[in-house]
Amino acid sequence: MSSAPGGANLLYPDMKKAHILAIAVIAVAIGIIMSAAGDASVYVSFKEARERAAEGNLTKVHVVGRLPRDVQQNIMGLEYNPTLDPNYFAFTLVDTNRIAQRVVYFNPKPQDFDKSEQVVITGAMRNDLFVADKILLKCPSKYVEKDIKDATASVN
C-alpha cells in the first residue's frame, strides 16, 4: 500500500480511496433519495389541504377535481376579467369527495379550461382560498381519441 498523500488516508490508513469514494457515493445517493422523499408532493382532498393549512403546513399539494356545471353544461363560478386584471383567475373546483373549494390562480385563464373534464391543481390553502400555481387539464380529446364528429361531419 503506497502512502498516497491525502487527508483521509492519513487518518484511516487502512481505508482505500475506492472505499472512500464508495462511501461518498452511497452518502450522496441516500441524500438524493431523502431529498426526493422530502420534495415529493401528495394528492390530497380539499379537506386534508385545509387541515394541513390549519396546522401551519404550507407545502404544496396536488388536488384532483372536476368543475361544477349547470344544466346547460356551462361551468359555474368562473371569474376572469382580463381587462381588469389579466393575472387573476378564480374558479370553483369540486374534489373527488365532492367538497367544493374556491381556487385562485394568478395567471391568465388557460384557454382550454372550459372544455376540460378533470383538473389537477398544485398549490396550498391560504386563508379560505386555495392558491394554485399550476393547473393541469385533462381534456377529453387531448392526444387521445379524436372527436368523432369530425368524421361524421364530412359525410355527404
Binding site: 503506497s2 445517493a29 384532483v64 391568465p108 382550454d112 387531448k142 364530412s154
Partner: protein, 867 residues
C-alpha cells in the same frame, strides 16, 4: 375509394419482419453457440444473414406502405386520419409518420436495421453474437406494431388499422362500410415545426446507437472476450453520445421556440427519460477511455454500457406505457402495450444482469493503485458525478412508477411528483454541473502530463488565477447591474469558468501537438459553456411584462404575487422593462409573401384556406397580390404583431408571437413564442390569452346617423369624415352583375396611429336591397350603409361598436442564452473530433487481435483497481 391493399401489404410486412427477426436471432445464436469468438457455423450464419436482410427489406416495405398511406391522404386508415390532413405540406407529413407511437417504433426499428447492416458488413468476428442481440431487440420492437390478436391477447398495435375497424360504432359505417373521410384531423399544431421533422429521427438514431455498445458488451460477456469489445464499442458510444446529445438539445430548442412554458427545459418526465441515459452514456464513455488508456475501470465500463441501454428501454417504458398519466404533458397515448413493454424491459434487464453476475469474477481488474496524482482517478470521480446526477433524475421521475406499482400490488398511495420540479431538480443538478465542470478541467490538465505536486501546481496556477479573476469580474458586473448572486451560483460560475479555462489551455497545448487529440477538451469546453448559459439564462431570466399599471384586481391578498402578464389593447402602448410595447394587429401567414399579412387586408371566404385581397399586397416595390386577387392563406395560426421600442435609444423591433385555437385540444389556445435574438440576450414573448374566439363578436346596438357629404362625426371615440358616395368597386366577393346598382360610402376615420378608409356598400339587385358592412378591426368599429334619400341628399349609416381587440402578453429576457447553444455546438464538434481521432487510430493500430494497444501509460509504482 377504400384501398385495403396497401394496408395489407404493410401489415404483411410487419409480420414478415417479426418472423424474420426471430429466425435471424435464432440462427445467429446457433451460428455462434458453443464456439469461441470468430468461429461460426457457416450454414447458420448464412441463414442468420439472410433472415436479417429479409427483416430489413420487410421493414422498408412497411415504412413505404405507411408513408404511402399518409402521403396519399388515405383517410380510410386510422393512422392517416388521425395524424395528417389535406393541407399538410410534405415535410410535415414526415412528422405525421412519427407522431403516433407505431410510427415512432418504426423509426427506431428502421435505424436498427441500418446499423445492423453496417455491423453485418464490418464487425467481422463479432458479427454473430452482436447480431443475436440486434435481432433480439428487433423481434421485441416489431412485436409492438404487430397488431395480431392471439386467443384474445392483443400483441402490438398496427399502424395499418382501418378507421372502420378502429371505430366500428360510428353510425356512418353502418350506412356505408366503405366510407372514407374527406380530410384527416391533422397533425398536432405544436409539432408543425421544422425541429420536429429532424428531432425525433435524431433522438431515435441516438437510441439505436446505444444498442451497439450494449450488444458488444453482451457479446463480450457471452463469449468470454472481456477486453476486445472495448475498441469498437468506444467508437459507437462516441457516435451515440454525439447524436443523442444533439438530439436532446434539438428538443430543448424546439421547446424554447414552440412551447410557451418559457424555457428550453421543463423537467418533464419525457425529457428526463432521454436525459438520464445520455448522462450514463457519457459516464460509460469515460469508463471505456480509462480502460483503453490505463487498463482500469473495465467492470465499471461493462455496467455503465449495459445500464445505458437498459435506461433507454426504461425511457421507452415510461413514455409509452401510460404510467406517467397526469405527470407529463407530452407522453404518448397509452396503446395498451404496457404488458409487452414490461416484458421487453425485463427480458433485457434479467438477461444482462445474469450475464454480468455469471462473468463478474472473470472480468479483469487492474492491479494499479490510483493516487491523487492520477488523472484517471479524477476522470473516474467525474463519471461518478454524472451517474449520481442521472440517479437523482431517475429516482424522482420514477415516482409515478412507484405509485403504479404500489397500486398493482394493492396498496394505494397518494404520492405525487414534487410540486416545484424545477427547484427540486436544480438543487442537485447544479452540483452535478459543478462537479462535471471542475473535474473535467482538472482531469484534462492532468491527463496529458506526468503529475506530482510541483507539476500539478504549476499547470493549475494559470487557469486557477484566471478563473478567480474572471469569476470576480462577473460577480462585480452582476452586482453592478443590481442583481444578486447566491453562493451556489458563485460556485457554479467559478467551476464552469475553470472548466472552460483549464480545458482551453489544454486544447491550445494539444493543438501544437496534434489537433485531433483535443476532441475531449473541446467537448468539455462546450459543456462548461452550456452550464454558464444555463446559469445566466435560467438563473437570471427576467420577466419584463410585469403588471405596472397599478390596477390590481386581487382583493384577497395584500402581498404582491407574481403578475407576469400584461394586457395590451390594440394600438395602445405599455411600458415593459426598457421598452414601450404595443400590439398592432393580427396577421396571417401567406405562402410566397415574405413576413406576414394583415388580416384586415384579407377578405375571408367559405374556403378557409382562401381569401380575397382587399387591397394590393406589396413588399417594398414588389407586388404579390392585386386587390381582388384570390390569396392562398394558412389560416391555422394567427400572428399577433407586437412592436418593441427602446425608450432611450429609439431602437425598435417587431415580434410575431403566434397562437392557434385548436378544437382538438378543447378549443385551447396553442401559443408559441417569438424570439428576438441579441448577442447578449433573447427577448422571448408569447401571448397568454386573447379574447374568446369561439363567440361571435359582441356588437353594440346599431346606432343610426343621417349624414350629408362632408359631415364629421365621432365613431367609437374616433373622429370620422364622411367624404362622399361613389360607385362600389368590384371588391371582395360582391359578384356584381349587369343591372345591379352598387354604391359605397367613403369614410375616413382617424385612428390613433393611422387613418382608415371605410367603405360600407349599398347594393340594389332586382329591386332588393343588400348591405355589405365594413369593419375596422383595429378600432372595433362596423359601419353599414342603411339608406339613401336622394331628394335631400342625405345618407343613413348604421354604426355599431365592439370591445377593442387585445392580447395578454408575457415577455421574458433571457441573458446569454447563446452560450447554451454555442456550447452545444462546441460539444458536438468535440465529439466529432474524438470520433475522427479514433477512426485514424484503428487504421494505425489495427492488428489481427483487434488492435489492442495502450497509449501513453504513465508507469505507476503500485496500482489497484478503482471499482
Amino acid at each position: 375509394m377504400l384501398n385495403t391493399l396497401i394496408g395489407d401489404v404493410g401489415h404483411l410486412g410487419v409480420i414478415v419482419a417479426f418472423v424474420a427477426a426471430i429466425v435471424a436471432a435464432y440462427s445467429y445464436y446457433k451460428a455462434s453457440q458453443g464456439r469461441v469468438l470468430g468461429d461460426t457455423d457457416a450454414a447458420w450464419l448464412r441463414l442468420g444473414r439472410g433472415a436479417f436482410a429479409l427483416h430489413g427489406l420487410a421493414v422498408f416495405v412497411v415504412i413505404a406502405a405507411l408513408f404511402g398511406i399518409i402521403h396519399g391522404h388515405r383517410y380510410e386508415y386510422y393512422y392517416a386520419w388521425s395524424h395528417s390532413s389535406n393541407h399538410l405540406p410534405v415535410y410535415y407529413m414526415i412528422s405525421c409518420f412519427w407522431e403516433g407511437q407505431e410510427g415512432s417504433f418504426l423509426l427506431w426499428i428502421f435505424w436498427h436495421v441500418l446499423i445492423g447492416f453496417v455491423l453485418m458488413r464490418y464487425s467481422r468476428r463479432w458479427e454473430a453474437p452482436v447480431m443475436v442481440v440486434f435481432a433480439g431487440v428487433q423481434l421485441f420492437l416489431t412485436s409492438m406494431i404487430l397488431g395480431v390478436v392471439l386467443g384474445g391477447l392483443k400483441i402490438g398495435s398496427s399502424p395499418f388499422i382501418l378507421l372502420r375497424d378502429f371505430m366500428p360504432d360510428l353510425p356512418v359505417f353502418k350506412l356505408n362500410p366503405d366510407f372514407v373521410p374527406k380530410d384527416g384531423t391533422g397533425l398536432n399544431a405544436l409539432l408543425q415545426n421544422y425541429w420536429m421533422v429532424i428531432h425525433p429521427p435524431t433522438l431515435f438514431l441516438g437510441f439505436a446507437l446505444t444498442l451497439v455498445p450494449f450488444a458488444y458488451a453482451i457479446a463480450g460477456l457471452w463469449k468470454g472476450e472481456f477486453t476486445k469489445w472495448v475498441r469498437p464499442a468506444m467508437r459507437w458510444t462516441l457516435w451515440g453520445g454525439l447524436v443523442l446529445g444533439v438530439g436532446i438539445m434539438m428538443g430543448a430548442y424546439w421547446a424554447y421556440e414552440t412551447l410557451n412554458f418559457g424555457g428550453y427545459w421543463n423537467w418533464d418526465p419525457v425529457e428526463n427519460a432521454v436525459y438520464i441515459p445520455w448522462l450514463v452514456l457519457v459516464a460509460s464513455l469515460h469508463g471505456l477511455v480509462l480502460w483503453q488508456r490505463s487498463r482500469t475501470a473495465l467492470r465499471t465500463s461493462f455496467v455503465l454500457v449495459i445500464a445505458t441501454f437498459l435506461l433507454v428501454l426504461y425511457a421507452t417504458f415510461l413514455t409509452r406505457s401510460g404510467v406517467l398519466g397526469n405527470a407529463s404533458v407530452h407522453s404518448f397515448t397509452d396503446l395498451g402495450l404496457s404488458g409487452q413493454l414490461i416484458i421487453y424491459l425485463m427480458a433485457f434487464v434479467v438477461l444482462a444482469i445474469a450475464l454480468l453476475v455469471w462473468r463478474w469474477k472473470q472480468i479483469p481488474v487492474s492491479e494499479k493503485e490510483l493516487t491523487t496524482y492520477n488523472a484517471e482517478l479524477w476522470v473516474f470521480v467525474g463519471a461518478t458525478v454524472l451517474c449520481l446526477g442521472a440517479f437523482q433524475v431517475l429516482w424522482t421521475t420514477s415516482i409515478p412508477v412507484y405509485k403504479a406499482f404500489m397500486g398493482f400490488i394493492g396498496i394505494t398511495t397518494n404520492v405525487a411528483l414534487p410540486a416545484d420540479q424545477i427547484q427540486h431538480y436544480t438543487k442537485a443538478q447544479l452540483w452535478m454541473g459543478v462537479g462535471v465542470a471542475f473535474f473535467s478541467g482538472l482531469a484534462q490538465v492532468m491527463w496529458w502530463q506526468k503529475n506530482n505536486k510541483e507539476s500539478l501546481t504549476s499547470s493549475l496556477t494559470v487557469p486557477g488565477i484566471l478563473t478567480l479573476l474572471g469569476a470576480a469580474l462577473v460577480i462585480l458586473l452582476v452586482q453592478y447591474y443590481g442583481l444578486k448572486m447566491e453562493a451556489t451560483y458563485i460556485v457554479l460560475l467559478t467551476a464552469a469558468l475553470f472548466g472552460v479555462l483549464a480545458n482551453l489551455g489544454m486544447v491550445f497545448t494539444l493543438m501544437k501537438r496534434k489537433v485531433s487529440l483535443s476532441g475531449g477538451g473541446v467537448a468539455h469546453i462546450g459543456i462548461a459553456l452550456m452550464l454558464l448559459g444555463i446559469l445566466a439564462s435560467a438563473g437570471y431570466s427576467n420577466i419584463i411584462s410585469q403588471n405596472v399599471s397599478g390596477l390590481l384586481y386581487s382583493r384577497e391578498f395584500d402581498e404582491t404575487t407574481n403578475r407576469d402578464n400584461v394586457l395590451l389593447w390594440r394600438n395602445d402602448k405599455a411600458p415593459m422593462g426598457k421598452y414601450d410595447v404595443s400590439y398592432t394587429g393580427q396577421y396571417l401567414d401567406v405562402p410566397g409573401v415574405p413576413g406576414y399579412v394583415d388580416k384586415q387586408l384579407l377578405f375571408r371566404t367559405a374556403d378557409e384556406y382562401k381569401a380575397l385581397a382587399r387591397a394590393d399586397i406589396k413588399r417594398g416595390d414588389k407586388l404579390y397580390y392585386k386587390a381582388g386577387d384570390t390569396v392562398e392563406i394558412l389560416p391555422e395560426n394567427t400572428y399577433y404583431r407586437v412592436e418593441y421600442k427602446d425608450r432611450k435609444t429609439g431602437e425598435a423591433f417587431t415580434l410575431y408571437p403566434r397562437a392557434q385555437i385548436n378544437e382538438e385540444m378543447g378549443d385551447g389556445l396553442l401559443a408559441s413564442p417569438d424570439i428576438k435574438q441579441f448577442l447578449s440576450h433573447d427577448i422571448y414573448s408569447h401571448v397568454s390569452a386573447v379574447p374568446p374566439p369561439d363567440k361571435e363578436k359582441d356588437w353594440s346596438e346599431v346606432k343610426e346617423h343621417v349624414l350629408s357629404v362632408g359631415d364629421t362625426i365621432f365613431l367609437n371615440d374616433y373622429l370620422a369624415v364622411f367624404r362622399g358616395v361613389e360607385p362600389a368597386h368590384q371588391t371582395a366577393g360582391l359578384g356584381l352583375t349587369k343591372g345591379d346598382l352598387a354604391i359605397q360610402g367613403d369614410f375616413l376615420v382617424m385612428g390613433e396611429k393611422k387613418q382608415y378608409h371605410v367603405h360600407p356598400v349599398f347594393v340594389v339587385r332586382n329591386r332588393l336591397i343588400g348591405r355589405v358592412p365594413d369593419e375596422v378591426e383595429d378600432l372595433g368599429l362596423r359601419l353599414s350603409f342603411l339608406n339613401v334619400d336622394p331628394e335631400k341628399g342625405k345618407f343613413t349609416f348604421g354604426v355599431s361598436t365592439t370591445q377593442k381587440d387585445y392580447i395578454i402578453l408575457k415577455a421574458v429576457e433571457k441573458p446569454f442564452i447563446n452560450l447554451l447553444w454555442s456550447g452545444t455546438l462546441l460539444m458536438a464538434v468535440g465529439f466529432g473530433m474524438a470520433i475522427y481521432k479514433r477512426r485514424r487510430e484503428t487504421e494505425a493500430f489495427v492488428d489481427p487481435a483487434d488492435g489492442e494497444k495502450v497509449l501513453n501509460v504513465t508507469p505507476q509504482p503500485k496500482a489497484r483497481q478503482v471499482a
